[in-house]
Symmetry: C2
Subunit: 170 residues, 2 copies
């Protein structure tokens, strides 16, 4: 069904050759980088990249703790995924949960001292990996360009707001 996203019978606007090349380069680079960082962290910190990101977020929060939903939102993952992730990090002893005092539905996840140590131990290696793969290879101008491009892309993909596609309803 060609009808899906362009309300009528409009024919699809394919990518130009240049655009295709750029899109392939994007796919290629982003998957290579994600694989690389995932392995680096699995090896050096014993967890996948996204779990590491959760610890980082917690480490920066006041009192090193956060509501589950808030953490999920910041990390751009579903609550379901976060539940599993925190359960695993709890098993590893790096995070624990506590009841939220102000909302009895809620849970706070907090970083343990042990978790903090893991973070401190693996952060330098991780930063080095990021730097080596990205920032050391780009000119300052390119870093700026990358930031702006990513900002624009994200803008069009605002998370989860179900009316994002329907601005005329606001």
């Amino acid at each position: 069904m060609d009808t899906a996203p362009n309300g009528g019978d409009e024919r699809p606007r394919w990518l130009s050759d240049d655009e295709q090349r750029v899109w392939r380069a994007y796919r290629h680079a982003t998957t290579l980088l994600e694989d690389h960082l995932d392995r680096q962290l699995q090896r050096d910190a014993g967890m996948p990249h996204i779990y590491y990101g959760l610890l980082v977020q917690l480490s920066q929060a006041p009192r090193r703790r956060m509501r589950m939903t808030e953490l999920a939102k910041d990390a751009k993952i579903t609550r379901s995924r976060l539940s599993h992730a925190v359960a695993r990090l709890e098993r590893s002893g790096w995070v624990r949960r506590e009841d939220c005092p102000s909302d009895r539905r809620g849970q706070n996840a907090y970083l343990t001292d042990e978790g903090y140590e893991v973070l401190k131990r693996s952060a330098p290696g991780h930063v080095a990996a990021v730097r080596q793969a990205v920032f050391d290879r780009l000119s300052p101008e390119q870093v700026g360009q990358l930031g702006e491009i990513m900002r624009l892309m994200a803008e069009g993909l605002q998370p989860s707001d179900p009316d994002a596609d329907l601005p005329w309803l606001r």
Copy 2:
């Protein structure tokens, strides 16, 4: 301990504030986009993004078939992962396997007519999604910049060549 990856006592070079912002923007945009496309394809084509990519590759190969290893290499995934993926696509009827005539260890995966139809049906929606999320939001200059940046990043992450880190050994 700061000692990990820099052989000696060199202290880690943290990211500057600007770099951190760019890195966050990168993470943010790339994960949003990947989630978005994954859902789009799961909904409209009944498979995750990467499986769709496999069908695309096959559709462009001569006689719509490819050796497993070659396909895995092009798609930047492990042979193991490809085995599972092709098994699943075979169950869906979109791909089949055949023995490779020239190497009895080998297998060719080929796209069925049914698989080709799925592709034809879902390609326009997918292209539209990519265009809407990326190319429609960037100026032509930015598209060029993105391509170059991604090319540079990928260059430093060459897949799988175990000696890539040891150029002096060549």
